[in-house]
Symmetry: D4
């Protein structure tokens, strides 16, 4: 369906070239990890490209996307993890999932998380994004009976080692049904969640 391009390290010129080629090929385009400067230089040439600022992504669709179905929940604790969470959500949506975002639930404010249980316990797949100690996926997976895809983020400092602490925490989760993707890999989590969601149709 959609050509997916990892934008980090690409130049504006390279991205414009890709959009041009996709236009010719009548294919949708989805570029992840785009800086504001890169986005601007692409929009200067293709003004109809959509810049998803929170997800740091660009999209341009020439054929209709699949209509949303099922339910994927994407969760994180707050503003720092939000870009990765949005990347996961946008990815899952583009692959046909109906996505519910819960972006203010953390281990610190446990009661807020518990009060939202109804919003996520019937999801077909839950993506949980967390940095620092990465404890949220364990807590969430202890409350539901559905697959949880944990995304460690590089948010943190010192002994977080750019996401390693969160990654290890998630790999060692004592809760059932948790699987893990690479640090900051919101895209990969979104793809896996959409695949699981799609199974259920």
């Amino acid at each position: 369906m959609s050509e997916v391009v990892y934008g980090a390290g690409k130049t504006g010129e390279q991205l414009v070239g890709i959009f041009r080629a996709m236009t010719k090929a009548r294919q949708n385009t989805f570029v992840t990890r785009v800086t504001p400067e890169l986005a601007a230089s692409v929009k200067a040439v293709f003004p109809d490209v959509v810049h998803h600022t929170a997800a740091r992504a660009l999209t341009r669709d020439v054929v209709p996307l699949p209509s949303p179905s099922g339910k994927v929940v994407v969760m994180c604790a707050g503003t720092s993890d939000l870009p990765i969470a949005e990347e996961a959500a946008l990815t899952a949506e583009r692959l046909g999932a109906r996505v519910v975002r819960l972006f203010d639930v953390g281990v610190a404010g446990l009661h807020r998380l518990l009060s939202r249980t109804n919003q996520f316990k019937n999801a077909r797949a839950i993506v949980v994004v967390a940095g620092m100690e990465g404890a949220l996926p364990s807590v969430v997976a202890g409350l539901v009976d559905h697959p949880v895809i944990a995304v460690p983020t590089s948010v943190g400092y010192g002994a977080s080692f750019h996401g390693v602490a969160a990654l290890l925490g998630m790999l060692n989760s004592c809760a059932s049904g948790v699987t893990v993707v690479n640090i900051d890999n919101g895209f990969g989590a979104g793809v896996a969640a959409a695949m699981i969601n799609r199974q259920s149709r």
Copy 2:
């Protein structure tokens, strides 16, 4: 349904106590990571306990298991990774999945893997178990459009660092839909696969 017990580090006495309690509670019991010695000392007391030697597990069921449905494929390259693969397969089966085992497919013998594509491409979830460089999940995920759960094993020596090389390889997979569990965590992969498989009913 079933009480699951991590057997590693437990004594025979402790396990016998657990089987006794489960009998009283009329609950099925599933013990993982059981040495042959431990298994023997349990069977001395409960002769009807089933010892799954390949999976290194004990089970004793007093209520019927769910009947198998859907399709989960568990793959590995050979004898070294087999115990973890069997643990994943047995776990998924006990949680209601119909499981197909493909235990002789590796990156080295690519043509054998390719000739089996029909056997795994329609699975609802695929568990791929691999040690050493852990390349198999990437190759498999490149051939299918379904969720792949990668299980790194501690098989290897030297710079395999007891499974770290395989773990990192899987986390960095360039193929879509791959999620990862802890090193040697066949149980966790089996649970996640069964959860995904169950979604589809």
Copy 3:
């Protein structure tokens, strides 16, 4: 007050020598990390030595201990972390703290933890012992306004790296008031908790 001896690596002969010297010096003795074999060989000579099997410790007191005061809570999720938790509890008790043990509260069973909040929220110091992903201290510290001393344990396998995953998780806790000791250092946590508890008299 009490001579504290790290028992690991000592021989029975060496320990007997220490107990003999302490008897002469009219001093209490506290030996940590004692195997059952070591304990037996000491008790063969000093039958009045107390073997705290769960805490893997030996004590022999010739002068009275301080009477318990204040409140220190020691928490862990279950049997695997129990020896370290007991070591922390016994240590704090010997240093004058009244200790409350909560040994069946984990991140998995969140509601059980929450139902116990009254039992730990008024403690002067809380020692939280956890292996694997080490998420419990974050959750507990989010519920109280008192110092939490986190003890990572070497319980786990694979990417737990003998307690490193839990250690990193605790060092990166997003909750306030969490400080951390070395992996499996129940003794150190007990000392620090008793010191904090004692401040309050």
Copy 4:
């Protein structure tokens, strides 16, 4: 009482928004890890914000802070560790602790440290900040009978690995009563010290 904001990575615009919201909510504000540029852009809008340059923090108080009580000592060896030590001191002060700063005591100049013993031996909690080999907390804890909170800093080069050497040194301290926080986490140490100090009221 006070909203605490981790300033690193925030924009001036975001911080101004936070100060605006806190003004409305009649709440004190405390922002850590603020660059001089960021501080300037906030002060352009809120001239009454206090910029604690040494601590790299901003504060604006609309309700009175608790009056200082007890005694927390914050120690470090010199100019490199000073920003983290000041962050700890300011944090503890804002949470009601009377704070004594000893900022020129190091392992190299042992006699200077020993000549100051009277100034720190009666503190309710001592925060010891150190980079490089991180030996100071062990030395200090050997001289007192009170809780020591050790803060490793990322000061150093080569095999200091951005604070890892200091962190490991502190976790392995042979002295009693030492607990540790994350690398450069002066804020966390200040909170824990203030909590301990508060217990004693």
Copy 5:
């Protein structure tokens, strides 16, 4: 024959000095890891220097190179690994190897790789360049009976740890005949491949 200079970290002035000295010595010059800026400042003085932009290298030959013989294949999956692959290819060529480039073969598109088998199975040495999980050398070496030199690249993010994941994957390859060079060391791989190729003359 040729003086080889590692350009990274050198100044334009230093490089110009080297080219001047080589001119005097009537020796060919080969500079690797040259930024576009550095290349420009050299070409301003020596306009006849050849800038191999893809390989990020400069060459200036005053004596004829050896004429190409044998067959070395250099393979990679795409644009990100291309600079290192080109560095390997150019190096091998300068040392007398006839080089065939296959720069669009990856583990993801297995069928494209397999369709090219004839192009690489008769090479005297194959250089396989790959980042992320570094699985390509294993797959290639499983298809041929010739030495494979694997070059891990720093392409990737998160748990790729700047090429460590690829390096470990390659060192643990289950396929025969794979040897490995340092991360991003296209030059070293090119030298080794040319040495092997030369043996066969």
Copy 6:
């Protein structure tokens, strides 16, 4: 030609089974990493199996091996690295290489190494086995113009980290033409050396 079996972790029973199957298949058998106990239990059944004690290997040939040609040199500094060096030498021999062993040349005794230069400088491939700091391959590669395959061994203690120091030293070799295999992978080095040697026929 020859079935190669990694013996580590196999049981005597499993190995006997393998020899039995190979006998039926009229194939040569080569088992690496065999303990003396394992060797004895195989020889009890197949008395004509050859036990290469230094190389820790078993062989049984039912068809003739290729006659030795070319020249592969295998070097190490002494007794500790000898089992890995012998494994490499035996492997290369079985694959048709004429092998020269130089097993008493080390970095410490530089003059002895230099006095042997004539013995290794015309080899088609040189396998250099070294533990501890792993400096020997760099020194050797600086003296010859042929491919050097470096094998780090796990010989050493402390900061050798079971061969990691040697592995890193070899990967960072400043000499040209060095490629590296996994720690203790004498077999892999032998295969690669034999492949290079065979090219030259």
Copy 7:
């Protein structure tokens, strides 16, 4: 003078062979890292071999050792580090140094260390052996103006990582004149100290 043999991993038979060869060659013999069992099996054949139990070494001298001169001080905190400290002391003695042992000085008991300053401040070289956080060399080097050779030991648990914490602490020492040897390398420290001591004659 003396043949030095690293005993770890050698068999009794091998050691007896070495002593036999040295007897023939009229050379002194010094074997380090000898277990009690190994020592016994050598003494059964050579009853005049001296077993230095604390240093875990064997010696047999057929020519007189150099007479002791100069002054080397070897320091450690207690029983756990003693074998390594004794290995260093014995090594330096055999190479001609007069050695003073200070084996009860640690960072914890700072006043005891300070009261001994006269005993070590005029040494030509000081070997400081320490495990856990490895802070002693920094403290000692701050008190003297002579070379300090720091020996990290593998004594400790958890985040001591078998001596890595002590090693890093020593490498990052803020005191002048500290150099470091490998973990547990008492022998190497003894050699270096004796070399420095010898310079001064």
Copy 8:
């Protein structure tokens, strides 16, 4: 004698203040790790400050330095390691050592190193500076009978891990008399070498 200041991270203003204070105190000043910009801003105020460009250091002496005596040799392989080697040499000189620089001897060009043996074999201490695989100290220490201080540098890329490979290589040196300092710590090596050199007067 001389105040030594670690210049990295200091501002020009701070350095000017230090020089001003030292002038008042009639003390020599030695600043290490100075960028050209920093040097310029200091020289603008104190034109008589000496900028040692190769050593990246500033000095200003108001009292005479000790006259050079003894012999310290500082060795490295080439331009990349030169700044650290110069820092070591300058440091040793300022502490009274006569220093001989050998800056073009490497493991690659063994014969050049051997031809210089007479220049370094009678040194009282030898500082050997090396990056990448760090093999030079082993080779040098094998040729002499004097203390060798090894300085790993952060020169290299990929699996050099900013000097870790060289550091580990040096710590595991099989040659006698090698001790090691932190990565890039030319200053520390210079101090230790001068201390050893001074012993001999």
